[in-house]
């Protein structure tokens, strides 16, 4: 379980996150929604330990991210926002490099790489240098690279942003398979229909605070609206105006 306990983060005078608490349970897909600048990426970065919280703590499977960031990171698979590839390595070499850094044996690595390349339909690009990859090809590679070590918890920052329909479907299939394997996924997105279709629960952040949490229908009911999109807009604007 990922437990976010009373986390706050300030950058100078800007309060990016304000006493936020939430959790991601075992084997569930949780959507993280928020307007641009709401604090989604900051929260993600604090979960994977590259940004330290000003107050509060994040605990992953009993390990404090603040106290043992490396141990906590070994439990995570992360697709950060706008992640880059090594352009002089092939797609497969990019994936293998991260797998080896995660400590996979060569047998495990080969097996996991083959599986991901197959699921994401990367066979035609696996041996090609990453230089000149299209957005979709790049996204598939960074996604495979993020989860090659079969992490228990997966964090994805806008994984389907700018992808074509076929790639988006491949990503969705992959996420469902991760869930079926008992892994937890927290992903941020601006696409409401995607969140509705994929997620067991949603977290809505506005102005650095958690303004709604629960199943999609619970959030819609809480906001007294007809759809998730309307609920999201109402909750975000209410905080924005306040």
């Amino acid at each position: 379980m990922i437990e976010i306990n009373n986390v706050s983060k300030t950058f100078g005078s800007l309060r990016a996150l304000d006493n936020l608490s939430a959790c991601v349970g075992e084997g569930e897909i949780v959507g993280l929604l928020g307007l641009n600048g709401a604090g989604k990426s900051t929260l993600m970065r604090m979960i994977y330990g590259l940004v330290e919280p000003t107050a509060g703590d994040i605990v992953i499977n009993g390990t404090s991210v603040v106290e043992h960031p490396e141990k906590a990171r070994s439990l995570l698979g992360v697709l950060p926002d706008n992640a880059g590839l090594y352009k002089r390595l092939s797609a497969r070499e990019n994936i293998e490099y991260f797998g080896r850094l995660q400590g996979l044996s060569e047998t495990e690595l080969a097996e996991s790489c083959d599986e991901l390349i197959d699921i994401l339909g990367m066979n035609s690009i696996a041996g090609r240098y990453a230089d000149g990859f299209s957005l979709g090809e790049r996204m598939k590679t960074v996604l495979a690279r993020a989860i090659v070590h079969r992490p228990k918890y997966i964090l994805l920052d806008e994984p389907t942003n700018g992808l074509d329909v076929i790639t988006t479907r491949a990503v969705r299939t992959l996420l469902r398979e991760q869930k079926a394997a008992g892994r937890s996924v927290l992903f941020s997105s601006h696409l409401m229909y995607e969140v509705e279709n994929l997620c067991d629960r949603v977290l809505i952040i506005a102005g650095g605070k958690l303004v709604a949490e629960g199943r999609v229908e619970q959030v819609v009911q809480q906001a007294q609206t007809q759809s998730l999109e309307e609920a999201f807009v109402r909750l975000s604007e209410a905080t924005h105006v306040a």
């Binding site: 992360v78 992640a83 390595l89």
Partner: protein, 387 residues
């Protein structure tokens, strides 16, 4: 675990570097053209020296047949002219000239005559030939004085109360070292610059292509990452230094130093000594490059910041050039300055003191460790990752 991760980082960086054609050219081409220009420069210097030695031509105005005959006997080509050459030397039309007085026929033949050597001392090219002509004039003067004294029944020793002799104890090889004074600088620059492009790509490149964040999400400590990158930069630098040394050895072997009476013998032992002396420099260079690279937002920024590293070997070079006799034991403890001294010695065939290499390592290790520690600390800062 960290050993395996270190090895993986090292292997990946080497693979990435070898495939980076731009950085490979940036690293391995400078030694080729630096040695080529060095060989060309030395070759031309030898050629000109040979030519100048054989043909010293001097413009002479005035009448002193005995002196002109003396100069001609000593293989100086004398070109008599009818007009005073002084203005021509002033204008630079003639490099140097000799103005002799022309006494009337009734004058005493034993009366002292004058000979004026006219030249522009700011012209480096005239120093050699003018020096030789001057030497011959003094010799002629001494010979004539001795004859005059002898004609009066006195011993020529009377006019030479001091017998001056010079003894140059330098061996041919040591004299050859003079011509190689720029080589330590060339080698130190190779060691400082060898992995610049690679180190920039490993650090600033990671920031620019936004792969640093993803890399740091792996459970690898920043010191392990930096150590792996540094080891890759070190290997590449040593490869560049080795190439530079091999090319230099070939150039020194084929250059005709014997034609100018010099002996340059840089054998495998000396080359090995040079390589060992440059290893600590390569260690320092790699760590400083990574430190500066991680502070740079882009590859271009990194190249700009790293540019100052080229200046570092120049400082001891100019110190040694302007104070050639200045040598203190503590020089060996100062990175670059110590190497400059030892490399110069090795090229002259002198073995450095046994503790010199120990001093190099003992001074290089703290500098390297400090720079790597700084780079590792910087690497995990949010400002660096997201800045």
């Amino acid at each position: 675990m960290w050993r395996k991760q270190f090895l993986q980082v090292w292997l990946k960086e080497i693979k990435d570097a070898v495939r980076d054609k731009r950085a490979m050219k940036l690293a391995f081409l400078p030694p080729v053209y630096m040695v080529a220009f060095f060989a060309l420069g030395i070759g031309l210097a030898i050629h000109f020296q040979n030519t100048e030695e054989r043909n010293i031509e001097i413009t002479a105005y005035g009448n002193n047949p005995a002196l002109i005959a003396w100069l001609r006997e000593n293989k100086i080509t004398v070109n008599p002219v009818d007009a005073d050459p002084y203005p021509k030397v002033e204008k630079g039309e003639v490099d140097y000239a000799l103005i002799l007085d022309s006494p009337s026929k009734s004058a005493n033949p034993r009366q002292p005559r004058s000979a004026t050597l006219v030249y522009n001392a700011s012209n480096q090219n005239v120093h050699g030939p003018v020096g030789q002509v001057r030497q011959l004039l003094y010799q002629y003067n001494g010979t004539q004085a001795a004859l005059n004294v002898l004609a009066r029944g006195l011993s020529p020793k009377l006019i030479n109360p001091l017998s001056i002799r010079e003894a140059n104890v330098a061996t041919d090889q040591q004299m050859g070292g003079l011509i190689l004074s720029g080589v330590p600088l060339l080698l130190l620059m190779c060691a400082m610059m060898g992995s610049m492009g690679f180190a920039a790509d490993m650090t600033a490149g990671e920031r620019e292509r936004r792969s640093l964040e993803a890399l740091l999400i792996n459970p690898v400590s920043a010191p392990t990452l930096i150590a792996g990158k540094w080891a890759a930069a070190l290997l590449l630098t040593l490869a560049v230094v080795l190439l530079c040394l091999l090319l230099l050895a070939v150039a020194l072997y084929f250059l005709p130093f014997n034609q100018i009476g010099l002996r340059v013998a840089v054998g495998p032992g000396a080359l090995f000594g040079v390589f060992m002396a440059l290893m600590p420099v390569a260690c320092i260079a790699g760590s400083l490059q990574l430190m500066l690279g991680i502070l740079s937002r882009s590859f271009k920024d990194a190249q700009t910041y790293m540019g100052f590293l080229i200046i570092l070997p120049m400082v001891p070079f100019f110190i040694m050039m302007t104070n050639p006799g200045l040598y203190q034991g503590w020089h060996l403890w100062v990175p670059m300055l110590g190497q400059q001294t030892v490399l110069k010695g090795l090229l002259l065939g002198e073995a450095p003191p046994f503790w010199a290499y120990l001093a190099f390592w003992l001074s290089a290790i703290p500098v390297t460790a400090l720079a790597l520690w700084g780079a590792a600390r910087q690497m995990r800062r949010a400002k660096i990752i997201y800045g």
